[in-house]
Point group: D2
């Protein structure tokens, strides 16, 4: 963010620049350094391998306890372009969270919104404002802004999942608030369906007549893989293509699941290749199943189940499926759309 | 709509009234006749028995062919208060439609919107703008304003269902348009799921990322009983009450299924009694299952499966279930809400 | 609304038809009578002359008192096609209201919404929910649904203005409610600007930061001719045409002034001729200034200042200005748009 | 953003931490450093004096030319808490821009949106996508995201004004795009009113019937002081208080002028003291007229006409007027509201 300063042989500007500095003013004769022709993105394209995430998650589980001295056992994906900041891009946080059998991550809430996507395993219950949601492979679980949430693993095997938060956006807006939950252990239901699912999840277009006061996010807190999987197949049948994209929506109003994050699931049939596109804002993707290749800018990354990759703003993106491949993607597109900053374009391959 | 005219002993007004009449003006010194303290509703509460509808539908099927000389085989419920007009109230049309095996009701479209609710039987396909929707007991099928629709019975048993249209509203607004479909017989798919279901019906909050241009109605054209039934049970479980109401919604935006009609399904457990309420606008209800009593104004009607009843505007309404009872209701509430005319109140029993 | 019934030589249908009648069912084998290719509109195009309205209004003022025995002194324009109903079309009511010096029309409220447009004169105060609005030539005054309103003429000359109500729509929806105001005479401010104007009328895009709870209509209750006139000139300058149309809007949300009625003012320069168009729904127009001709369907009506005319649904409409002409128009277009029934098309002249 | 790492005597974690680093993962056992109880805001409250801005602006005008080698002559207010970044807070940019007689700042466009508020002087024309807007004291001029804009001073006196941009937000979202305008000098109208004003600015609630395709910002590009001043007086009269706040709105839809910035003008009568409040997001205020004191957090700043001050996120704010005082404020509240992050609370003084 250094801006070239005007220099003149004839005019001695140093005294003037000193006076400006004293007055907390900065001379900016050119905006080129600040306002660039295209986004100057520090985050770089990158892929984290499933194997590394699994192994290192397991080691964290063995080495580091989760207790009141440390709320969460989390390994944050740190974008190589961000000089060690624990963010996957300038706008999103992504991490794996690991919970041993009989462990709990205690309740707290914060204004950054989070979602959990389960790449493997099952058995953990995430309780959201008192509503317990069992988590299984392929499920998408929401813990929206300022909802109390806690994780419990009542089973006898460890479980790991993907966390994505809008933390960098909320931090950039100076709007981070945090509150710990009550000190005592929560009891929670282990019912197969959460109350959110009973009320909002029974079927497309079916919901209570009396919705009460709706929050600024989806009242449906979990999207089950069983339904997502079936919906992807139905979409393939309806569209007769080899590549379909399903969007997770607020069933009460039809918009995105949360005001800051969009969630989509893509299914590619073997051999399918997407167009090359780029868009403003970050996309974080995780391969649920299958293998293939993603081209991000000039770099190709091979992909296998459990891999996670980041597509920085305005970086070109193209997927090739070598088997049937299911790819979950979270983006900050709702933010860019709300602020009139969303751009997307196809790029000649 | 007669308005009492001002009369004076001293002033001869007849000549003045004549001159007004010539000028197509009407003197109105009082608005009491036109603008009444509460709605002056001509439609009366009434219940049509399932038996009558079934028997007379069958006789219509035997006696009257459906062909190009007669588009539809329809028996319209004519409200006893409306002097023979074929409307169930001042704003809604309700009818039973009967189709013999191998019969078709040919394609046409009109600006009045229609919905079909299946009280019994199965086997007919309703094709909506090219999308074939198989119909079964408990299904709600939409044929929205200005969509081409046609009915085909490829099976070997007759089928009858309930039609509800907003025709009186559209007629009152002088906005009725009609267009016949192509003369030749349509071919249609007999696939178990329509394209609308494949795209929009796979699960709550699951829909294509690319929605295309959305129409001014739900893109999901059919709500299956299997899902509705399960959603009612889930709602009972979530709410722990004996009386739940589910609303059918546009899955793309969360609003009502069509801009003129709201659809809801109520499930009452045995012995449940609703509060007494009244609201502006018409409600047309049909009992899918169970039996009980409805009190409308001062009159009680016993109810059995297949019965249809009308609740006129501002008439009090109370349901008592003598068994588990499922009641489907269509209302014009979206119209009244959009125009700022919706009122609803609880009434002391 | 007579529907041709199916007749057969071989099959005796009379007994069947009798049984249907007993069961309050009507056989409808064809929908052609009910659902017509284009709207079957009973209202006809018509023009009321300013002279007639003025003379007959004055006579009403002389002959008939306004007092508690008669709330309003109103001459309703009765469309010649509506068999004596006091409505200017199937959806709108239009009338002239006349108030003698020192007379008051007492407070009441009703769900039908009303607007007042002043074709001539000044001096009356219309008080809307406690907010007094002075009325002058060219002003548009709103008395929205369920707001108390009363008219006072504190001056020494009579005043007459145009009333337009959505009464037929509200009546068709069985949603008419009425309530008289308090019996005692209201006191009212004769300030030059109403509170509504002070809060919402100071300038385009300028409004209180704290809007309180907004009603389902424009919080600005009066649109002053001085501003409308200037806005028309500005629009002519911006568009460099001879024909501009200004819409009166809710300054809080930008929509129509009321959920049932759209208000617009058109200015045509001498010689200007509009395209020929038609649209669903009724338009009621009043000439504020100038003269010209309107062609409605196949009929031409010459127009002078103070004339009122009605354009029934789907009737073609074309204006020719013989001088600079200002035409105020109210329509029910917001109703048709909300319900998905709005159609408009250009017609070859 | 340093996070305390778990440390154990018994377990050697260094090797594990090395492996994490290699895999671009960061261990985060506690979120306390990242997710704080209240916002950890680097920007501090500060006030720039009118005198300094005026003097230094003038010196910049004397010393530094505006030409193609330097697009703008701008002194950016650099928040003392931001380590030299040229931003007034983490989310907003504020600067004074100075233009000599006969100078022009050439056309360009960028995705960051800007507004111009004139604290003194007149004579410059800002051309926005071809529409020339003359600027005078008290005027608010919009140059929304991606609109071409250029500034021309055809007069014979210099002019300086306040620029506010959402640049830090757009940069944080990696969505900055820039495009220079055509190389040749633009010709521009010096008409007293822009086309935007002719179409949208003629009066409250008055706008073209045909709005064309509306942009994602107010189509009214300038709010004139004459109208703002009158609206403030009207609001004082309506509310009978000593402190009123007017919001600048999009006249087409009633929302904020741009999706990222809210603009308001406050008028305090002599002696008025506001409540103490705080809210998420930045407020940048400028005193147009009068003098008083602002308390920001624990610090008081005296205020005079032309002073600019910043209220960082969650910093308490209280104004005291020692004369009639008009204060213009821009905030990023629309961003926080759209994302569900807006909080505001009164604080005991």
């Amino acid at each position: 963010m250094t801006t070239p300063r005007f220099r003149s042989e004839e005019v001695p500007l140093d005294a003037f620049y000193d006076d400006l500095s004293t007055a907390h003013l900065q001379p900016l004769w050119e905006l080129h350094g600040l306002i660039t022709p295209t986004p100057r993105v520090r985050a770089v394209p990158y892929r984290w391998r499933a194997d590394d995430l699994a192994k290192l998650g397991r080691r964290a589980g063995e080495l580091v306890p989760v207790d009141r001295g440390g709320d969460r056992r989390v390994l944050a994906m740190s974008n190589p372009g961000l000089d060690g900041a624990p963010f996957i891009s300038g706008t999103l946080w992504a991490a794996v969270q690991y919970l041993q059998p009989q462990e709990s991550a205690p309740a707290h809430r914060h204004t950054p919104a989070a979602l959990r996507f389960v790449l493997d395993g099952h058995g953990v219950y995430t309780q959201v404002d008192g509503d317990a949601v069992g988590m299984s492979r392929g499920d998408l679980v929401l813990t929206p802004s300022w909802t109390f949430h806690e994780h419990h693993n009542p089973g006898d095997v460890p479980m790991m999942w993907l966390d994505i938060l809008d933390l960098p956006v909320v931090a950039a807006l100076d709007a981070v608030f945090f509150e710990p939950g009550p000190a005592e252990e929560a009891s929670y239901s282990q019912a197969p369906r959460s109350t959110a699912e009973l009320r909002w999840g029974a079927g497309a277009g079916l919901a209570p007549a009396d919705t009460g006061g709706l929050p600024q996010h989806s009242p449906l807190l979990v999207y089950r893989w069983k339904h997502t999987d079936a919906a992807l197949d139905a979409l393939l049948e309806a569209q007769q293509t080899t590549d379909v994209v399903l969007r997770f929506r607020d069933p009460a109003r039809g918009g995105d699941v949360m005001p800051t994050m969009r969630c989509e699931m893509r299914r590619l049939l073997p051999g399918a290749v997407t167009t090359t596109d780029r868009q403003t804002g970050t996309r974080v993707s995780a391969v649920l199943d299958g293998h293939g290749v993603v081209e991000l800018g000039g770099t190709s990354f091979d992909l296998a189940a459990g891999d996670v990759f980041v597509v920085p703003s305005w970086c070109t993106h193209r997927l090739r499926a070598q088997s049937r491949m299911d790819v979950f993607t979270t983006s900050d597109s709702p933010v860019l759309e709300a602020l009139g900053l969303h751009r997307r374009e196809q790029v000649a391959a």
